[in-house]
């Protein structure tokens, strides 16, 4: 966990007080909507189809049990008893009343939470690997660097009114769990030939109407230079990014138009002027930030306790769940447990207040009071002793978050879509729900293996459809919902944008088409362990296209 200090607490409390005054003036008519809109957006407050929506940041996806209980309280007291975990390590409440928002925000502030910079043309919540600090394959905890950057850009006046929003991610593992290449700016910690750790810097990624994967503009950046480099990139974007056309305002367009090499030269010029100034990181400052990430007092345990093996033999469901949802931990005797928020027929990423409270209790009992939130819209208990796995599974199963479908066909990433969102053209959630019903056969799902489906209800791509193994994009045609399908996308260290397989299909046909794609995969795969992506890479899109459109 990260321990916030008095400065952080004061900042958040002052923001609540300020927003309370702004809401009062808006409700009295002293502020017009035009004046108020920017202010509410700066606090993560949107207006959606049915109500206001409050988006709350979960920095680097780390939550304490106290914070999760507070989210449950917010859900119960100010919303309709549930919340929606997003694809950027945030949570959204979709039924918030403006007049009650200041009270809700004050309660959130009491546990160090807020909606600052979860909206608006600023640096958004900085995301990272949800397994940060516990993943066996990481070089060091990336959250330290995310926090260093967060402190610098929070309410930074120069970066509060950029051409468009700006998303930063930090990763530190060989396997990219933070979808680095789809971010405006991303840092990947790695070791150079001399064994020194530093960052690969990637810039200009983003999905939306014009999707691009980020390009590497600096293969190795010393850690001391990370803040000055962030500053140089943001200044370059602020100076050259377009403000005349919202569809061309993201940094990905600038990088594409200039070319990554030219953009990198502009950054380099800016950076040379500031790299040895006040932004050069003092190791003591970094050490101070790092010291506030408190790690559990792990017990000295051995891996694979005998009781675990016995429980697995005794209960097939449990054993399947262990294979699917339990991952290796860097500390012997411990495990990372992923909690699926994707039950059959459910809404991807939704959790009820009761589930949140129960998970918080389980985190206290079995995971040192800590919970993680991943961009796949699932949660994790990051520090579970392997000897406790059976008890944890039974408790998770009771509250409906132990579906053994992590990374499988029904672990669907989906935006709220037209059921909630004022930007959406089509629904996402019922499409996801229908697909999970079509693949309710667990044996089939496990036979299919890793298969990520991503659904967005509009071209803004909050469901990251471009990087889904199967991507589904909702569009509107003559007042009707239609869906374009892509295949072959991926968001990991080998990130790739999917390829469109053909004309859009109607709402009623989407699940049929997904079934056709899956059937084609089963026929085309070279061997049972060749995953969907490998088959697409080997045979290309055409056989899938033929299968889907032959009879349509």
């Amino acid at each position: 966990m990260y321990v916030y200090d008095a400065f952080d607490r004061t900042l958040v409390a002052e923001r609540v007080s300020e927003f309370r005054g702004q809401v009062a003036r808006r409700l009295s008519g002293e502020l017009t909507e035009e004046e108020f809109k920017l202010l509410r957006l700066q606090n993560g407050v949107y207006l959606q189809l049915h109500a206001y929506m409050l988006r709350i940041a979960i920095p680097y996806g780390t939550l304490s049990s106290e914070q999760l209980r507070m989210l449950a309280r917010i859900a119960r007291r100010y919303d309709r008893g549930y919340g929606h975990f997003t694809t950027r390590q945030n949570i959204q409440f979709h039924w918030i009343k403006l007049e009650e928002l200041p009270d809700a925000m004050a309660e959130l502030a009491s546990v160090g939470m807020h909606g600052m910079q979860t909206s608006g043309n600023n640096v958004r919540n900085i995301t990272t690997d949800q397994w940060a600090g516990v993943a066996p394959d990481e070089i060091e905890d990336p959250r330290v660097w995310a926090e260093v950057i967060r402190q610098h850009v929070t309410l930074h006046p120069e970066f509060s009114f950029m051409p468009r929003k700006f998303k930063i991610a930090v990763g530190s593992s060989s396997h990219d769990r933070a979808a680095l290449r789809i971010h405006d700016l991303a840092f990947r910690l790695h070791r150079n030939g001399s064994g020194e750790t530093g960052f690969e810097v990637m810039v200009g990624g983003g999905l939306g109407r014009t999707p691009f994967l980020a390009k590497t503009i600096r293969p190795f950046l010393l850690k001391r230079d990370v803040l000055s480099y962030v500053e140089a990139v943001l200044r370059t974007y602020n100076q050259f990014g377009r403000r005349d056309n919202i569809w061309k305002a993201r940094i990905k367009i600038l990088v594409h138009d200039l070319g990554a090499e030219t953009f990198a030269k502009e950054v380099e010029t800016e950076w040379q002027g500031i790299k040895d100034g006040r932004l050069a990181l003092d190791p003591a400052v970094v050490a101070d930030v790092a010291s506030r990430f408190v790690y559990p007092a792990y017990e000295a345990l051995a891996d694979s306790p005998p009781d675990l093996a016995q429980a697995r033999r005794a209960d097939r469901r449990f054993s399947t769940w262990v294979d699917n949802s339990v991952s290796n931990h860097k500390i012997p005797g411990y495990a990372i447990v992923t909690l699926s928020l994707k039950p059959e027929g459910g809404t991807p990423g939704d959790a009820t207040a009761e589930q949140m409270d129960a998970i918080a209790d389980l985190a206290d009992r079995y995971s040192f009071g800590e919970i993680r939130v991943g961009h796949e819209q699932n949660l994790a208990l990051p520090h579970v002793a392997q000897r406790d796995l059976f008890a944890v599974w039974r408790a998770l199963d009771k509250i409906g978050v132990a579906t053994s479908n992590v990374g499988l066909v029904s672990d669907i990433i989906a935006c709220p879509g037209l059921d909630y969102c004022s930007l959406a053209n089509a629904r996402s959630i019922p499409v996801a729900q229908e697909i999970t019903r079509r693949f309710r056969d667990r044996d089939l799902a496990h036979d299919l293996g890793r298969l990520h489906i991503n659904i967005s209800g509009c071209i803004n791509a909050c469901g990251h459809h471009h990087v889904g193994h199967i991507g589904i994009l909702g569009v509107e045609k003559n007042g009707e919902e239609f869906y374009q399908l892509t295949i072959g996308g991926r968001a990991d260290e080998e990130a790739r944008l999917g390829t469109l397989i053909g004309p859009a299909v109607s709402y009623g046909e989407v699940a049929d088409v997904v079934e056709d794609i899956v059937a084609a995969y089963l026929e085309l795969r070279a061997r049972p362990d060749e995953i969907f992506l490998e088959t697409v890479e080997r045979v290309g899109v055409e056989p899938f296209r033929e299968r889907v459109y032959a009879t349509r």
Binding site: L49, K398, D419
Partner: protein, 111 residues
């Protein structure tokens, strides 16, 4: 005063003015009497651009009562009853098309 929408607004059928209520974001409809209602059936339905623009101008002027007022299509049933003219407006009126999460379905873990 001429509305900036004057030249853009094309009306091809019956329409109404809808918005969200400032204090809580609830979906509301402009009435014939210059007020707002949460009842779809209470909305003023008009059939011409000038009438829609007049309603919209008045709705926008009420910046404290409502947010984000706009013209939305309406469908007329054979019996003369009105209903939302597209899926978006239907969802705004009736709520999400999915079942919302229910606490009662999910027993709290024993611990």
């Amino acid at each position: 005063m001429t509305s900036p929408l004057d030249k853009k607004l094309k009306i091809t059928g019956p329409v109404l003015i809808t918005a969200n209520r400032l204090a809580d974001g609830a979906v509301i409809y402009r009435t014939a009497h210059g007020g707002w209602t949460t009842q779809f059936s209470g909305a003023s339905v008009v059939n011409s651009a000038p009438a829609a623009i007049a309603l919209l101008d008045a709705a926008i002027a009420d910046d404290v009562g409502a947010v984000n007022a706009y013209v939305a299509p309406v469908k007329l049933d054979p019996d003369g009853r009105t209903r939302p003219g597209n899926l978006r407006e239907l969802i705004r009126l009736a709520g999400p098309t999915i079942e919302l999460p229910q606490a009662a379905e999910l027993p709290v873990a024993a611990g």
